[in-house]
Symmetry: C2
Subunit: 222 residues, 2 copies
DNA sequence: AAAAATCTGTTGCAATTGCAACAAGGAGGA
DNA sequence: TCCTCCTTGTTGCAATTGCAACAGATTTTT
């Protein structure tokens, strides 16, 4: 992927972009599937952007319980700047699900006044603002799911959000295995399985592999 | 409160600040305790900053169940730009807990290139970026709490976060009533009460009114 | 192709949580 | 001051969820 296709440089023309890239001094790295891309214990100032591949942000608490915080696809951004675990209570890690290519930039490089006085610099800051906003919205949706009081409601609310984001005509796709989904919903896997089976029986849900369809036969319709 | 004390204008000197204020054309309003300050169904572009007073961001789902998303104090920022409920699934509202003074600014006013070419303008954008970052961290902490699997763990993790944010020497303070706290932790009130009573009995927690102390006698110590 | 590892689907049982109802305490308004 | 409304604290019972264990399916590695 060319740097100028990157969302951080959206709207910046190619030559400016190259100049800025040298200015930001980014670090592009490749990772094999299953490797640890980053850990938010101490690093504070690095922003990572997934150029290719898929990864997940996960947290392990002191008891070793895993929670999947977010699924990261191409163009997803992560970093302590966005979401950050301030204490020893838990560790947040980014782990690749497929082979990945990741670009790291220092936030301070972006924010600082550019000595070359790039006029396009401020465009990048705006893009960063936009990304932050998206991230906040994602986290907010995550909270919406987790604040549901039952497994059924958590699952449905999660699937509805995925549905809403799926382009017209495409089949909505769960970005996790069922096991991982239970870590995302923060519930027991077999209890989740039980609910899925029940919803299928009642004709509210069909799932095959990671594709699904929801039939909103309930009071949600209005 | 003078505008130049506002975090959005941090680091901008007074005369620049006044110029910019006229440029941003902010809307400052007062609210009585218990009023609805904002609702995120349609408004998309307004950022609110609490100048004085306290408020909460709450969500009501289709069944009327309330969730407290966030406690907002002085200098807190809110808006669909930060956290936004994209669908009819639920409604997010900002409700004042005390009398409040709130400043609204259009996000596009901040982001747009200023025709007066304020050099300090970019400082404001950076401040906004900083605020966004804080917001993301808050949401992230919220997720940390909600992803705990039991009421006990939710409560403790919530109290630890409050403790960590409390300045040395001060007594940590829960920003909610117990009833509201249960809406924040997304659990049943009497079940939460039961846990609190149990933790008190076991000497892990003391609470009087909203002040509390945690005694980390458990395996957390290391 | 075989072996290993991981994921799916199920179930009985135990533990936790939600619900409803009620008594008592406190805050604020008439 | 009294009255109302809201919060706290408690409890028995019901419902939901977690846990453990297992079998079969699927995927990955060797």
């Amino acid at each position: 992927m060319l740097p100028e296709d990157n969302i951080l440089f959206k709207g910046v023309d190619q030559s400016d972009c190259r100049r800025m890239i040298s200015c930001f001094n980014p670090d592009i790295r490749k990772y094999k599937s299953g490797s640890r891309i980053a850990e938010f214990s101490r690093e504070n100032d690095r922003i990572g952007i997934i150029l290719s591949g898929r990864a997940v942000m996960e947290r392990y608490d002191i008891n070793g319980v895993r929670t999947i915080v977010e699924a990261l696809g191409e163009q997803s951004v992560f970093g302590a700047f966005f979401t950050y675990s301030p204490s020893i209570r838990s560790v947040i890690e980014i782990v690749s699900e497929t082979d990945c290519e990741v670009m790291f930039v220092k936030r301070s490089e972006i924010t600082k006044r550019c000595e070359n006085a790039c006029p396009c610099h401020s465009r990048v800051v705006e893009n960063l603002l936009e990304l932050m906003s998206e991230k906040a919205i994602n986290l907010s949706e995550r909270i919406e799911v987790l604040s549901q009081r039952s497994i059924e409601d958590k699952l449905i609310s999660c699937l509805q959000i995925i549905e809403d984001k799926t382009p017209q005509g495409k089949t909505p796709l769960i970005p996790f295995s069922t096991t991982a989904l239970s870590d995302y919903l923060c519930v027991n896997r077999s209890a989740l399985q039980r609910e899925i089976t029940r919803l299928k029986k009642n004709g509210i849900l069909t799932i095959s592999k990671r594709k699904f369809r929801l039939y909103h036969n309930k009071e949600q319709d209005f």
